[in-house]
């Protein structure tokens, strides 16, 4: 008996054992039934593969999972260079007086209330403020970055930007302003508000 000419190419023709049979049956069905969705999935797999390879080589590549402290968007190279401190450690830095506190909140919030001696560099206006802010942020002192509170990425972003500018001695106050006030630590309060530009970058 002559073999019939090869029929439609299916994955099943190359079957060997139950698991492969099942898998190839599903693949054959999927390709026949949803040809474009299967191709879309292949594009996605290609994107993951190329993206992973690129990320491994990129100097500012990201870890695949959040960094310690549940922070996202921190390049692997910066992970250990932006340590988080708590309110107690921040207080001892404050009392020692060597560190400069940097408030990354908006100018209006800074004007209302802030940590004494803190410099305001609103992160939401970083691109326009940085040229002036550069002179206010010394490179030889520890900079303690703080913002609003939990899940506030402003200080982390500011830390990244400062690391790129060559700053080295940076710490981020975890939970920022909210933890500072909860610990009843000193603030400069201006209930009536005062010119937002005073002390602000």
């Amino acid at each position: 008996m002559a073999q019939p000419a090869q029929e439609k190419t299916t994955f099943e023709n190359r079957a060997c054992c139950p698991i492969v049979n099942e898998t190839s049956a599903i693949l054959t069905w999927a390709v026949a039934r949803f040809p474009h969705a299967v191709r879309a999935a292949l594009f996605l797999i290609l994107a993951v593969a190329v993206g992973a390879a690129y990320n491994a080589a990129h100097p500012l590549g990201l870890p695949w999972l959040p960094s310690p402290g549940n922070r996202v968007g921190i390049p692997r190279a910066f992970e250990t260079r932006l340590p988080q401190i708590d309110a107690v450690q921040a207080m001892s830095l404050y009392e020692a007086g060597d560190a400069l506190f940097v408030d990354s909140r908006d100018a209006a919030d800074y004007a209302e209330d802030h940590i004494p001696g803190a410099v305001n560099v609103p992160m939401r206006k970083w691109a326009e403020l940085w040229p002036q802010a550069a002179s206010q942020l010394p490179r030889d002192r520890t900079l303690v970055l703080y913002c609003y509170g939990a899940h506030c990425g402003l200080s982390t972003r500011q830390g990244k930007a400062l690391l790129e500018e060559g700053y080295e001695d940076l710490v981020v106050l975890d939970y920022g302003w909210s933890t500072w006030t909860q610990h009843g630590q000193p603030t400069v309060r201006h209930p009536e508000g005062y010119p937002a530009d005073e002390g602000s970058a």
Binding site: P35, F43, L60
Partner: protein, 163 residues
């Protein structure tokens, strides 16, 4: 398998009562029009991906701002999505498996529309992150962007359905 179909029928037949719609449909499904639409959509996707690929960390910050992706997936999402954009865009430009690429482009555009709409409804004042992640962009996620994305969606859907 059964004869159950997913999705829309192959073509929405233009009604006899509207010959001008029939003419538009004939133009829109003309091979040359489809090819040009694919190239335009593809170029948009490739262009949009470049800045995100250059700075995945900044793109992750923007994804974080949209407050839609669970925290543990944000970094992974920020690493994969720009590469999905560039792969899809390159395929649409080159015309390789363009119906599959059109499907992926449609899915991504729908995701962008949902992201922009939820940001706007919740009143999040965030950077768009559409074409640039530099932080210098003044373009916020607003309804203007939503409207701007509609032609992109139509083009992507057309390539997906009629390729």
């Amino acid at each position: 398998m059964g004869s159950r179909r997913f999705g829309t029928p192959k073509a929405i037949p233009p009604t006899r009562e509207a010959p001008e719609m029939r003419a538009i449909w004939r133009l829109a499904t003309h091979p040359i029009f489809l090819r040009v639409a694919g190239i335009l959509v593809g170029a948009t996707f490739v262009y949009a991906s470049l800045d995100k690929i250059a700075r995945p960390d900044r793109f992750a910050d923007i994804v974080h701002d949209y407050d839609m992706v669970p925290l543990i997936f944000i970094n992974a999402f920020a690493l994969i999505m720009p590469w999905t954009e560039i792969t899809t865009g390159a395929a649409l430009i080159a015309g390789v498996w363009r119906r599959g690429a059109g499907l992926l482009a449609t899915a991504m555009t729908v995701a962008f529309l949902i992201a922009i709409a939820q940001a706007e409804i919740r009143g999040l004042e965030i950077e768009c992150g559409c074409f640039t992640v530099s932080g210098m962009s003044t373009s916020e996620a607003t309804w203007d962007l939503f409207i701007r994305d509609i032609p992109l969606l139509l083009g992507a859907m057309l390539v997906w359905r009629k390729g």
